[in-house]
Amino acid sequence: MILDNLFYLFVFPGFLFVAVLGLLVGWVDRKVSARFQFRVGPPVLQNFNDFFKLLGKQTIIVKDSVKSLFIAAPLLAFGTLCLIATMVGMALFFEQGFHGDLLVLMYLMMVYSVMLVLGGISTGNVYSSIGAGREIKLLLGDELVFILVCLIPIVKSGYAVNLEAMIIAQSDGMFIGSVSGVIGLIAGLLCIQAKMALRPFDIAEAETEIVEGPLMEYSGPLLAFWKLNHHIMYVAYPLVLVVLFFGGFNLQGIGILWAVLKYLLIVVLMIIIKNTNPRLQIDNALKFFWRVLAPLAFIGLILAVLGV
């Protein structure tokens, strides 16, 4: 039993699986982005090289930082993401879960952003603090929309709050086949974009403006963990959308192909949005979330209640 759980957490839907898959999908992202700019792009194992290189570099602990927080933030964020991946993976691959795991998932996704904020503030660097402040504001913007988005499948599956029940409710027709499902997916996709700090919402980690914000002072293995976190998100967060709107995976025969297509559809949509949009200012991003996406998601919710 204990061994099984450790296996789930560290090997299959958990750490090892998402880390390796995430580094590979990170390559897809970089390659597609390179093709968008008429470049050749990096080799397949580039992200693995980056990760192992960073593991071997020196870590500099900033003198004026809150040292415990500075070290703990990337590791806790990493643990949080492994937990998210395990929970989603258990529902997808083994149809297991516990009552209310969607709510836990929503909180864990928030915890990651909080860790990014804490890591940023702990360094005492001006740019990092600006980045952390922006991350909080962005969290205020996308969290409301994300909760509304999660409510749509909850309503449609007959008020079930666990992932497994949602997959079962979609066995005779995915939620994406309805109007409210489409609205939910659009809003959800943009929320995930903001949570993963991809353009146009990479406001907190703007590389050319505030030098990767919260990550600026990190070096060596701790930076490697931040980068790995980013890659794990590429696997975990789209899979959440797959559960909510595409009815999970059916891993038999042709179903495997469908499963890969569902996942790739979301990832490619995210990469296209990322490569065709410039970065928003923080106030415009908040306006976008509160004035455009929140009403849209709310309309989707009302439609879901009406059964459309």
Partner: protein
């Protein structure tokens, strides 16, 4: 160490600092990072923070005002770090030989691992220089 050096050679992140050049070398470095030459296929990436860097790209003769700052940058970088001096300026001071405010010898400020001469060097020459660095790392 051989295995690690191979990883390092495939993923050199570059931080660019301009130590009082005539600015032409900087412009040429920016050309180098455009899609035409596409350094990402060699794993090279321009980073904005010295904490993430593996290579410190330096241009210019280094005058007395910027010298302490470059020294500080070098000390802030996580080791191992390679310093690559771009242009004929750091190599032989050329036009600025009689300048009153340049430091006597830039090797006294920071150790330099490689020079890429040229005024300014072509992007192709810089790529060749970086390829040589990669070759040294690969042994």
């Amino acid at each position: 160490m051989g295995w690690y050096n191979k990883r390092l050679a495939k993923s050199l992140w570059v931080f660019h600092v301009s130590g009082s050049p005539c600015n032409n070398c900087d412009i040429e470095i920016l050309d180098l990072l455009t899609p035409k030459y596409d350094l990402e296929r060699l794993g090279i990436k321009l980073v904005g923070s010295i904490r993430h860097a593996d290579v410190l790209l330096m241009t210019g003769v280094m005058n007395k005002k910027i010298a302490p700052r470059i020294k500080k940058l070098y000390e802030q970088a996580p080791k191992p770090i390679f310093v690559v001096a771009v242009g004929s300026c750091p190599a032989s001071t050329i036009t600025f030989k009689k300048s009153y405010n340049r430091v006597e010898k830039i090797e006294d400020v920071i150790p330099i691992d490689m020079y890429i001469p040229g005024c300014p060097p072509k992007p192709e020459a810089m790529i060749e220089g970086v390829a040589k660095l990669i070759g040294v790392l690969n042994g």
